[in-house]
Amino acid sequence: MPAWSVIAPYWPNLLSGFWITVQLSFWTLLLATPIALAIALARETGPRWAALPLAILVNAVRLLPALIVLYFVFYGMPQFGIRLKPFAAASIGLVAMGAAYMSEDMRGAIAAVPKGQLSAAAALGLPRTHAIRRILLPQALPLMIPPYMTRAIIMVKGTSLASMVSVADLTAEATRASSITYQPYVFLLIAGGFYLALNGILALIQALAERHLRLSRRTAAA
């Protein structure tokens, strides 16, 4: 193992890269989640004119490599006069990717709630938005959490692609430090450790959320 003296000069860069990765993860998750939920609800409970174009859009995005989507935003958009900073371009690309995949996960959970529930709510005279909010979603939510967290971890790992459109994230800083010092495995291992820590936190949140839902369901049943 090389001395701390090799790592020390690059430690602040690694930390700032890690902070960028945390920010990218935070923003992509924060923006992708409501978009994905809206898409999933529109496709499962909305009218056909909304469901069909969304289905085509989601599947088109899901067919493409994430890197190509990032290239579209970062290299392609300037052709239409939209010039974005690397961080903004990467965020938009990652949100588009994440929302498309996440909406599929959520659709599965929504479809798992028996259709009769909404019909019964309609028969009782509940307004549709009310039925979705108070009947459908509370039942779909517990089913959503495991695939949601799996997707969140995939999205956190996916932020490493931002390094390919010149965002100075953790992966970018680690590779830069490696190519200067010729000590790749040191910096790549450190970066890997940071990513594992981030994903470990997400896994912990998942466990807590699942426990919380189990508890709240038990009190609801009692």
Partner: protein, 221 residues
């Protein structure tokens, strides 16, 4: 500014050459990671708790760090340990390791879907263990494992774009090489995206054929 595809015919050969490398990389990883995944799934059920724990730890690590980092590790890190690989084999190695653990999860749940009694019944009939596995157990895991298997296979296809980062001349890096010359990224990216869509469609057709084949097999037996 509008799209102008007039220069595309001149760059299509370069993109198709990239697509060939993408296909080559996808198939190589698919062929190598499939038995790798079976191995991981079997080791997860190994009798030794130390071995089981080691495999699960490795699975957690390899599925927890970005594949891009693994690629850099194979390409830049391994030479320091005395193993210098050209870009394509390095990419194949990194993606095979990564996907083996994903396939391991898929096959483990496939194996779990086969009732334990099948092992015992086959053992009672005096079949050797490896034949039980190959002829009795694995064929029964196919219906449960095939859909997630193919969806991971399309992940491999899309993941090959990462190899652009370690100078493998696959489709995405071919597209970038072209559009930094033509200055019309949008058109080139649209064509590259279309090629990816065609390759994806090929895998989906394979899934449909596979599902029909396994349904027919089950109907016959």
């Amino acid at each position: 500014m509008s799209l102008d595809f007039s220069s595309i015919p001149t760059v299509v050969p370069a993109l198709l050459k990239g697509a060939a490398v993408t296909l080559e990389l996808t198939l190589a990883v698919l062929v190598l990671a499939t038995p790798g995944g079976v191995l991981v799934a079997l080791l997860r059920g190994a009798p030794s708790p130390a071995l089981r724990g080691a495999v699960m730890g490795a699975s957690w690590i390899f599925r927890g760090i970005p594949p891009l980092l693994l690629l850099f590790f194979a390409f830049f890190g391994l030479p320091l340990m005395g193993l210098t690989l050209p870009p394509l084999p390095a990419a194949i190695l990194a993606m095979t390791v990564y996907m083996s653990f994903y396939f391991g999860e898929v096959f483990a749940s496939g194996l779990a879907s086969v009732p334990k009694g099948q092992w015992q019944a086959a053992a009672a009939l005096g079949l050797p263990r490896h034949r039980v596995l190959l002829r009795i157990i694995l064929p029964q895991t196919i219906p449960a494992a095939l859909p997630p298997y193919i969806s991971h296979a399309t992940e491999i296809l899309k993941g090959t774009a990462l190899a652009a980062a370690v100078a493998v001349p696959e489709l995405t890096s071919a597209a970038k090489k072209v559009f930094v010359v033509t200055f019309r990224p949008m058109e080139v990216l649209i064509v590259a995206a279309a090629i990816y869509a065609v390759l994806d469609a090929g895998l989906l057709i394979l899934q449909m054929l596979g599902e029909r084949w396994s349904a027919r097999r089950r109907a016959r037996s």
